[in-house]
Symmetry: C2
Subunit: 445 residues, 2 copies
């Protein structure tokens, strides 16, 4: 065999490998998200990574168009890699909703690609984790979106977080009253930056980009200064938008969402009305949500979304209203690491069996099989190396229990059950298909 | 707003959407595979969908090179979409194995892309589901590979399947004795087609392509005619390869694998020595495995793999021996559908609550929350439509229980628990945070 020239193993800029110690917590997070989505009847779907270019381009901003990975395939077709899961959902819904019926509740956890500027610390490949209810205008679906976000955060392990809620119709009502109705997109895009750039810069952008007067900009920003308990803010809002039909309808929806979520058990310190939440995306038309970790507010929202009137106007004449949100998986993982919430293990199995006595492979195999039959994960070391070396491996990987048996133990008909965290150990009889060992291990785990 | 021209929603040829009724069984299958892999200590990893083109090209066959989706990215780099998970594993291992240490046991469940000819019914995007143990030559790892395949098949729900086992060294020993050692790759590629094209065509290919004589071809094929119990075949093999060191070593490994798997509980009708199993890939050097469904042998192997001496020669001077296999996820799903093993539900939640009385949303939300707190998935219909229409939706989706409460029920302080499969129903008191309802639902599920 001729030796091929060697290629340096490396990943592309903006792309990364997920080794076990990162992938295990990521899988756990995905599992939690799926479990929560499923508990509300959201169904999984998947769509292709590649779409016809005309499906993707022109659907997002100019920026997403520029960032699109696109090329001609073997048949000369122009194709692009999906840059989010919303456009594929719109295409999917337009294509299948007649057959699937509504409400169509779907979750979609999948990778997307954007040729981002990596200098901002962004990755070019990342995972999105979206859920949406399509085909209903009912506020019950908005309430449920809040409940899902709430359950997600709690199940992931956060006790201190705040879901910030607003309604685009309230903002529209205010803009109407301020004479800014025709400039709402640009004004709301500026308002959306409040947390990042502060009120002065936002006011300046409203004047320079959206063409508002300084007085109008101040009027918009006054909204975000309304604070207090939800009831108090709601009353103030109702007064502020009294002259606008849209604004009044928005305030009524806000009340419905808050009361519904409260009835279902969401405490008022976790769901806050916040009139500065605008969401930059044009297509939201009703409720908008953002979610902040109380311990790390600066990382921004970890779960955001809202209600839209028409998901798939680009693909179908059928109006598809809906509501949903997206969990910022990678951002949340980074936050959890920062908060010390991620256990650093590099094994998904808790029990380790060293290959101690080279003539006893069959005994080890049987012991491992007995534990697995009882639902306990076990790794058996493949080589009969020195015991110390094997235990060092077990320690580095983060196993919690070792089952050690050499000639002495086999002669006595026992197995040493060692707690790798405390160092505690005991000899347990190897009888009845290792039933006692299973019990001893279960006690430790 | 100006209306953009409408784009026809469609997917690319060779690509497909996964709607809920396909995605739910697919997720279940993936979950099962993960659970089994994890129970043996295999760790999840992930790698980018895009790699530098020089990482991917020239690693597979000429065919995979031709099928590669490749293009220049925004920085002018030539990149390609991964066409399998083995090349990324080799690159990953070369890059990280020093830090991660060995044995490196990983599973990787991810999408790959090939610009295949779709006329053969192939898809251009499909999921692979691989597991490997890297960094050991121990036969214990080969035994474990058999055990994983065995557990996978059982956990997925198959009771009748056969893992067919062979060893490349036995084949090499035979080829040595037949004077075909220098033509082994071409001869084994021909032998690999035995199941598909039959012995005559295989013999012809051995003569025409591999340059064997008719006598030599017959000699190779004679191997595949050796049948009988594993012990019997093993004894015959040991006689046949007696003159070859490699062959004898291979036969000894075969014996070790069979005895180890048997000790761990694999019955002999599920693990068969089959000397015609060659696997087409050049890089296998020891054990080779294929797995067939007894009910559908014609679909070919649903889980295949083997042992290799050197995974990543292209990327590193470090020798990385290993063993692993790949579960043919989509092929298996198709088989399960054909065998009626896939329950056709389009909801991951078993319980449905119709939005029966429009003034009772809060009661429905509370009831749903109580069930979820008890670990039971619930979908609440978002709109207060006619009850019949809502129950029709529930039926189409495949919910198993409906909890129906209108004014009458609320007046009586009960909720109707309806078994949607049998039609049976009973009124259950709505007290103690719906504890009795939870019990009644649990009894049905």
């Amino acid at each position: 065999m001729t030796k091929p020239p060697r290629v340096t193993p490396r990943t592309l800029k903006g792309f990364r490998d997920w080794p076990p110690e990162s992938m295990i917590p990521r899988e756990r997070l995905i599992d939690t998200a799926r479990r929560v989505y499923r508990s509300y009847g959201y169904c999984p779907i998947d769509t292709p990574a590649l779409e016809y270019l005309d499906i993707l381009s022109g659907t997002g901003s100019e920026e997403t168009d520029r960032q699109l990975y696109k090329f001609q395939d073997h048949g000369g077709r122009w194709v692009g890699m999906r840059f989010d899961l919303t456009v594929p959902l719109a295409r999917f819904a337009a294509q299948h909703v007649d057959r699937l019926g509504t409400p169509l509740k779907r979750y979609h956890i999948a990778t997307v690609w954007r040729g981002e500027n990596t200098q901002r610390g962004r990755y070019r490949e990342f995972m999105q984790c979206d859920f949406d209810t399509i085909g209903t205008r009912s506020t019950a679906a908005d309430v449920e979106t809040v409940l899902v976000i709430h359950d997600l955060m709690r199940e992931i392990g956060f006790s201190e977080f705040t879901i910030r809620l607003n309604n685009r119709m309230v903002l529209s009502g205010m803009l109407e009253r301020l004479g800014l109705a025709d400039r709402s997109t640009a004004v709301l895009r500026a308002l959306d930056k409040l947390g990042k750039i502060g009120p002065d810069a936002v006011a300046e952008e409203m004047v320079s980009t959206a063409g508002a007067t300084a007085e109008q900009a101040r009027g918009v920003l006054r909204l975000s200064e309304i604070t207090g308990g939800n009831d108090e803010v709601l009353r103030k809002v109702e007064t502020l938008v009294a002259g606008s039909e849209t604004g009044r309808a928005g305030a009524a929806k806000l009340r419905e969402v808050i009361e519904g979520a409260t009835a279902a058990g969401v405490s008022s310190d976790r769901l806050r009305l916040d009139l500065s939440i605008a969401r930059g995306l044009d297509y939201y038309t009703g409720s908008v949500f953002e979610t902040f970790l109380d311990a790390l507010p600066d990382i921004g929202s970890v779960c955001s979304g809202g209600r839209y009137d028409n998901l798939a106007a680009m693909f179908t004449a059928r109006e598809l209203p809906g509501v949903g949100a997206s969990l910022g998986l990678d951002r949340l993982l980074a936050a959890m690491e920062e908060l010390g919430m991620v256990e650093r293990v590099a094994t998904p199995a808790p029990v380790f069996i060293p290959f101690f006595d080279k003539d006893r492979l069959h005994d080890y195999l049987r012991l491992a099989a007995a534990l697995r039959a009882a639902g306990i994960g076990v790794e058996l070391f493949p080589d009969p190396k020195r015991l110390g070396q094997q235990l060092k491996y077990a320690d580095r990987r983060g196993f919690r229990v070792a089952l050690i048996a050499g000639e002495d133990e086999f002669a006595k008909g026992v197995c040493q059950v060692k707690n790798l965290q405390t160092g505690g150990k005991q000899d347990v009889p190897l009888v009845d298909n290792a039933a006692d060992v299973v019990e001893a291990v279960k006690k430790i785990l």
